[in-house]
Amino acid sequence: MKKLLLSLALGSLCALSFAQGKDLKVAIDPTYEPFTFKTPDGKPTGFDVDIANALCEQIKRKCVFVEQVWDSMIPGLQAKKYDVIISSMSITADRLKAIDFTDKYYNTPSRVVLKKDVKYTGPASIKGKKIGVLKGSTQEKYAMGELKTVGVEVVSYEAQDQVYLDIKSGRIEGTVADSVEATGGFLTKPEGKDFALAGPDLFIEKYFGVGAGVGLRKGEAALKTELNTAIKAIRGNGTYKKINDKYFKFDVYGK
């Protein structure tokens, strides 16, 4: 009992942490299999996590992962709760108004996910259906801009795996998600066997930007250059390919 109290007291002293030194605090949203997720015993893992560790090795700093809900990623960055966001965050014009990004480290398209027997010929063909999206994501912007306007019901969730939970239970009938994430996190699992990717690859830059990059606060030019150099380095020395092949059969770096 005393030890518990002592450790609680010491733990709460560390509550106010003054951020200096070699640790790089990296924000992740671990509900995005196979890019960012957790093993059952709580360890962060996935493509983003491995890339983050590789980049940290290059810039010789230690990665400390901080979990954050997706729609408060950017506010948290601005509040200096962490230093960078490496969690499949797409580089879009809207986001560039608030924060800065490094060059992209991968680029995969988004697609609509629906039941196999639904004929999808465009947004208007799923009018009246309920589609789930992640709050604060580029897919949500697309859904609000293109799907909601033609009569599709768009429901926003705070985590992508909660979208899949409700698809499984039947409350919603599909989603708009990153095609690779949907494949690894849903379609290849038992509950996703009746679903498939529908429609064309969505590369619309207005909504989806130019690929996922590392998010940082504005004004951190030194860190940005360091990370850009690191990204080029791991692309060149084969580390990127090794991590890529661990999760995917194709090159996710994209065009």
Binding site: P75, K135, Y157, D166, S169
Partner: protein, 237 residues
């Protein structure tokens, strides 16, 4: 501090929708909960030990677990059960479980019913023995004693504690923001925060809305108490 953004039309509309959802959830769950609480209170003070035990277990669990977990269990947990999934497209009443508002309503009603039932049961038990004996001396049956003597006075005596419960319920509706697609005042504030990165303004405005609503509710209850509990007030002349 940038208050101008809060007062833009679309953000005010967001908060407005939130107020409508919050108040709607509050009053409908209070209504359903009150009816349920009455039935449970009668069971708790009734002559059947099995009923007493069952309802007692229900209030024990409701009062021992957080509302957030109850909401998650009803929204996510029930949605996972296969035989509900099979029925909720076509069979009434299971169709309602598909909607978030109904799930939130159910969770809140069960919660308030648990607390109110215990309050009402306590008030029923504290009815003056003399009143009940007098009613029985008049030859009233058990139901007549209940309806004419015990319940009216018990409900009046529960009023102060119930006003607390209503205010607590108002605050608990903020938990509804954890259910996807429920747009109450707190989730409106969260939306404004994540869109414009203004935590103080967004949440302070929400706090202001709740404060106003709380004061209104307390004021209404004061008026009701003055009317119904007038016999307990100190003499004025």
């Amino acid at each position: 501090m940038n208050w101008a953004i809060i007062f833009e039309a679309q953000n005010l509309a967001l908060y407005g929708q939130g107020i409508v959802t919050t108040l709607g959830l509050l009053f409908s769950s209070l209504a359903v909960g009150a009816v349920l609480a009455l039935i449970c209170a009668l069971a708790l003070t009734g002559p059947f030990p099995v009923l007493r035990w069952l309802v007692g277990a229900y209030t024990y669990v409701i009062r021992g677990t957080p509302l957030l977990i109850q909401v998650y269990l009803i929204y996510y947990g029930l949605g996972q059960l296969e035989w509900i999934q099979a029925r909720w497209d076509s069979v009434w009443p299971w169709t309602h479980f598909k909607q978030p508002f109904f799930c939130a309503l159910l969770a809140f009603s069960l919660n308030t019913a648990g607390y109110t039932a215990e309050m009402l049961a306590g008030a029923i038990r504290e009815t003056a023995a003399g009143e009940i004996e007098a009613a029985q001396a008049y030859g009233m049956s058990r139901w007549q004693v209940l309806l004419r003597v015990v319940l009216p006075s018990a409900m009046r005596r529960t009023l102060p504690a119930y006003s607390n419960e209503v205010v607590m319920m108002l605050h608990s509706t903020s938990v509804a923001s954890a259910v996807p697609s429920m747009l109450d005042v707190t989730s409106a504030a969260s939306r404004v925060y994540s869109d414009y990165y203004l935590p103080f303004e967004a949440y302070l405005f929400a706090a202001g809305i709740y404060l106003t609503a709380t004061f209104c509710l307390i004021g209404v209850f004061k008026l009701v108490e003055q009317h119904l509990l007038a016999y307990l007030a100190p003499r004025k002349h």
